[in-house]
């Protein structure tokens, strides 16, 4: 018997859903085991009846609920609460759902300031009052992670999450397990670069030049990015972006990690810990430009990013 699944995106970019489709050949074996009673991306089930005449949002009952995206408006909040009522296991898929994600950088401003910019201060926009209509859901006070609103049973972080883990978590549920989580390891634990526990010292370099490496050689011959003097969030970021095998994906591109899988464990303080990691290789963490947003890029929910006082005029 196929297991009933409800899937939907909230404040999301659809990247998580594409990652589901990127499971690859195992997808075709997995699909018949799942019965998607709702998935906006793929199936034409409607919330207000197939003829659009329902008065309230109807979410079908299901064993598994999967939501991507954080919570940014009242309608998303309502839908999430309805899904929670109808499913046995709720999976938060991706870093927006788990931590607020990139859009939670908006939490550094008051909502009014964001609307002021978007509707009255963009070069090509004909200045207008904020849209207001029963069909335009109001913003919630912050861009929140899913578990700030409802209880989450399984978190699959990542931006996007790796297809290996999506398949793994779903298969775990199908086999009767009730819990699943990624092992608590850091990106550095899965990164093959050379580490000597020291750098050239001085300020943290901006990413205005490429890493030093020989392209004909593997990563195991490249010096650690932090030790080359750049910011790499590997030390404080949960491993797994590479799936079950392979090297961290950003490092594979010879680019630094920016923390898309979020903290290694609950209760971690990635910014504080990352400042320590930079200090430990002899870099000056205070020299890092745009430190707060840089170190909390994917995790601005849960109060990690909040409104800062306006910068003094120059």
């Amino acid at each position: 018997m196929a297991v009933k699944v409800v899937e939907d995106w909230l404040n999301a970019c659809s990247g998580c859903e594409i990652s589901i489709l990127n499971i690859g050949d195992p997808l075709l074996d997995l699909l018949p085991q799942l019965e998607f009673v709702h998935i906006t991306a793929l199936v034409d089930h409607k919330f207000f009846g197939q003829l659009g005449d329902g008065a309230t949002m109807e979410i079908p009952e299901a064993v598994v609920g999967i939501v991507s995206g954080g919570v940014r408006n009242e309608e998303q909040k309502h839908e999430l609460e309805e899904i929670r009522k109808k499913v046995q296991f709720l999976i938060s898929l991706g870093s927006c759902a788990c931590y607020g994600g990139v859009p939670a950088q908006a939490n550094m401003w008051k909502n009014d300031e964001v609307f002021e910019k978007v509707f009255r201060n963009c070069l090509t926009t004909d200045s207008a009052p904020n849209p207001e209509d029963p069909n335009v859901p109001k913003w919630t006070p912050t861009c929140a992670a899913v578990d700030e609103v409802v209880k989450v049973d399984i978190a699959i972080p990542g931006c996007p999450p790796h297809p290996d883990w999506i398949a793994d978590a779903v298969l775990a549920l199908l086999s009767g397990k009730t819990a699943w989580s990624l092992p608590e390891r850091s990106v550095c634990d899965t990164c093959p670069v050379i580490r000597e526990q020291k750098s050239g010292g001085g300020p943290v370099k901006r990413w205005l030049q490429n890493m030093e490496f020989n392209p004909e050689e593997g990563l195991e011959k490249m010096r650690c990015i932090n030790e080359q003097g750049f910011l790499c969030m590997g030390p404080v970021t949960l491993a797994g972006c590479n799936g079950k095998a392979g090297v961290p994906r950003c490092i594979q591109a010879r680019t630094p990690c920016r923390g898309c899988f979020g903290p290694i464990r609950k209760g971690a303080r990635p910014m504080v810990e990352m400042m320590g990691a930079l200090t430990s290789v002899g870099l000056d963490p205070k020299s890092l430009v745009d430190r707060r947003a840089m170190m909390n890029r994917y995790i601005g929910g849960h109060g990690f990013l909040t409104v800062i006082p306006a910068r003094p005029a120059k």
Binding site: N22, F47, L51, P103, V136, L208, R258, D290
Partner: protein, 448 residues
């Protein structure tokens, strides 16, 4: 006032939307609206970020076309810092873009659009989807999944991430391609090209002929078009001049720097999504009889504004298409046909780039120094022209951002197409699930 039909959510598209159709007392369509209810505020929260971090931040605008945003942003950051990437870097950017777009077009055609055509627009919703396709055409489904996997393999094997890339940086790219990598990728790209040819043939033989009537009726509107062409008028996804075509086919060409002279964005109180319009044509009017300022982007639009395609197989299909439907072609469902012509160009471009040995040059990034400046970068995303316009201070921190992106351009046109489809299909209060799905098909053509 009669009843309101709420189609929510609009499904098999790549974002949030809903449609409301208001019927009058006689049961005929009085009004329709397509609502896009999400707003994230990128233009605000990018303020203060370092310019060089932008390409890997704004790619998160869209998880379906992250490479398009990534590259438009990289071009805007090149311009902010006043640098020109070396030729190999441009080739590598173009290669990644081409392969990513092949995957995107395959996804749209087979997973999102095909259920309407292969299973049928009136089929029950429980089978009118990709799972239905897997059952109805298992061999093709298998191939599609394999091809998408192949595309991801090419991109991830080289540039690490297929979704939300980090590869393009101001001044170039983060790593060169080795000869070994080139040789490994070339046959994979050739496989993608073969499948693209198969897809075109399959659609022309098995899909489009059956739906000629639907093509001529569903969502048809007569508006303008925007796209990017090279100096000699060929369709280009990565670089060129912008071409804005009026509904009658007359057009203006302009540079990225001039975009704000031609385009404006209107705000309606009932939508977070703005309504870009051609402001040189007058004040926006979305009426079916007398639209003003409305233009479209995405596949059909590019095929309309281009004088020719950039590659031979795509060119042959383009000629056949234009002979059959003219210039500009206005039928909305032709977006699907145009998408497959573009699929061929993307696959051919990927093969061409991989056959060019210069792509393995190690000269891939020029040195950069932050400065106060403005930089505008544009590319053609699968869903339309992306305009990324940044200003930064002397320390290279962003002070202002203006974005006009893919599907947003089509907001006014999609609203019109929904209106046209609903009015053409719903009379005297009679409608069923099939009819409501056909209204959605008018939206799906735009692949929003």
């Amino acid at each position: 006032m009669g009843k309101v039909i709420n189609i929510q959510p609009v499904t098999r598209i790549e974002g949030h939307a809903k449609v409301s159709i208001t019927l009058d007392d006689a049961g005929n369509v009085a009004d329709t609206k397509l609502y896009v209810q999400t707003l994230r505020g990128f233009e605000k929260f990018c303020e203060g970020r370092p310019v060089e971090e932008m390409p890997r931040t704004v790619c998160h605008i869209c998880g379906i076309c992250p490479w398009a945003h990534h590259l438009a942003s990289a071009k805007a950051t090149d311009a902010c810092y006043g640098v020109t990437p070396p030729p190999a870097a441009v080739k590598l950017r173009r290669l990644m873009q081409s392969v990513a777009y092949v995957s995107d077009k395959i996804l749209n055609f087979y997973f999102l659009a095909a259920p309407d055509f292969v299973i049928g627009p009136d089929a029950d919703y429980s089978v009118r989807n990709v799972i239905g396709i897997v059952q109805a055409a298992p061999e093709i489904a298998k191939k599609v999944v394999h091809m998408r996997h192949l595309g991801a393999q090419i991109i991830e094997g080289f540039a690490g991430r297929a979704i939300h890339p980090t590869f393009a940086v101001p001044g170039g790219v983060s790593k060169p391609m080795t000869e070994t990598e080139r040789q490994k990728m070339l046959p994979l790209a050739k496989e993608l090209l073969e499948f693209s040819q198969f897809s075109m043939k399959f659609a022309k033989e098995n899909v489009f002929p059956k739906y000629l009537n639907a093509i001529k009726t569903i969502g048809v509107i007569k508006v303008g078009y925007l796209g990017t062409v090279t100096a000699d008028g060929a369709l280009d996804f990565y670089d060129g001049k912008l071409r804005l075509m009026k509904p009658d086919g007359a057009y203006d060409d302009f540079t990225y720097e001039q975009y704000a002279d031609y385009l404006g964005e209107w705000v309606e109180p009932w939508s977070y999504q703005k309504f870009p319009y051609a402001k040189k044509w007058g004040k926006l009017n979305m009426s079916l009889d007398n639209p003003v300022g409305v233009y479209r982007t995405n596949t059909l639009s590019r095929i309309n504004v281009a004088d020719k395609m950039a590659t031979p197989l795509a060119q042959a299909e383009f000629e056949e298409f234009r002979a059959a439907f003219g210039r500009p072609a206005h039928f909305t469902l032709l977006y699907h046909y145009a998408r497959l012509i573009e699929l061929l160009q993307c696959a051919e471009t990927a093969v061409q780039l991989l056959e060019d040995k210069e792509i393995t040059s190690t000269d891939i990034r020029v040195p950069i120094t932050p400065r106060a400046a403005r930089g505008i970068g544009c590319v053609e995303a699968p869903r339309g022209t992306l305009i990324h316009d940044y200003e930064c201070d002397e320390n290279g921190l962003i002070t202002k951002v203006n974005l006009i992106v893919g599907t947003t351009h089509n907001n006014a046109a999609m609203n019109m197409s929904v209106n046209q489809a609903a009015k053409a299909l719903i009379h005297e209060g009679k409608y069923d699930q099939g009819i409501l799905n056909k209204v959605e098909m008018a939206i799906r053509a735009y692949d929003p």
